[in-house]
């Protein structure tokens, strides 16, 4: 993927009305922006409108951008403000799901088994991969699973594992508590791991 130039160059480009610079940013940042927006609003269409409103606000405000935060963080903050305002008008509350939803049943031994709370069977081994990074279909399953995560989990994993923000930074951007941040991130990662495990186990029941 094309690397973006350094931040001062990006900011100068936007201020000068450089269309190619704007296009590069839109291509690099929009997916995560949509996922963040979607954690506040209840439809993909609303999230796209939030994205448009955000970019307009960014362009109007870029002249006064002072660089106290990074440009991306500043863009995210604008987005969260717009999405929150809009989400407050969405009638439907987003379900947050329960803690145990994604644990596959029967993975651990029950109270009457010899070792309660321990594995019934160890997780099946995965084929080894270069530096732990999965390739091919396993990677494809992760991409598909990301798209299907509950929106709040997806927003957090996008910021942590795709953007590389720290836990503290994510809490500040989304204005959530450290405990909440951790639970959402953990559920997201565990759900993705489960999807890869299903793939390596050869579960094909979800295939069309």
């Amino acid at each position: 993927m094309d690397a973006l130039p350094e931040e001062a160059v990006i900011v100068a480009g936007l201020r000068a009305g450089d269309e190619l610079m704007f296009t590069a940013l839109v291509r690099a940042w929009s997916r995560n922006m949509l996922w963040l927006a979607r954690s506040y609003v209840s439809t993909d269409g609303s999230a796209e409108e939030v994205l448009q409103d955000t970019w307009l606000a960014v362009l109007r405000g870029i002249g006064g951008f002072a660089g106290r935060a990074t440009l991306k963080t500043w863009v995210y903050r604008i987005l969260v403000n717009i999405a929150k305002r809009r989400g407050a008008g969405d009638s439907r509350m987003l379900p947050s799901g329960s803690m145990l939803d994604d644990e596959p049943p029967g993975r651990f031994q029950g109270e009457s088994d010899p070792f309660p709370g321990h594995w019934k069977e160890f997780p099946q081994a995965w084929p080894s991969s270069e530096g732990g990074v999965l390739a091919g279909e396993a990677r494809g399953r992760i991409v598909a699973a990301l798209a299907e995560l509950p929106p709040r989990q997806r927003a957090v994993i996008a910021l942590r594992d795709l953007d590389g923000y720290t836990a503290d930074e994510v809490c500040a951007i989304l204005r959530i508590s450290p405990g909440n941040q951790r639970v959402l991130l953990h559920r997201a990662r565990a759900a993705l791991r489960e999807r890869v495990a299903e793939y390596f186990r050869g579960d094909t029941e979800e295939e069309p």
């Binding site: 362009l59 651990f108 530096g131 951790r182």
Partner: protein
Amino acid sequence: MTEPACRELVELITAYLDDVLEVATRRGFEEHLAACGGCERYLEQFRSVIATVEDLPPAPPSSELQAQLMAVFRDWRSS
């Protein structure tokens, strides 16, 4: 703290990786891990998933949405 069972351990992994477990909990976590091949493997797979997500390239928006955003940009520039 007593050593966590596997069921508890898998729920602590993100906190462990962020290094926010209390000292005693962390010690129990690591003691369990050293002796449990199942949890060791689970942790390794968890790390592998994280490494893969970190490695994913950005995905550009649909061409339709991109066109709408370009229209926003041109409107702004001509205003």
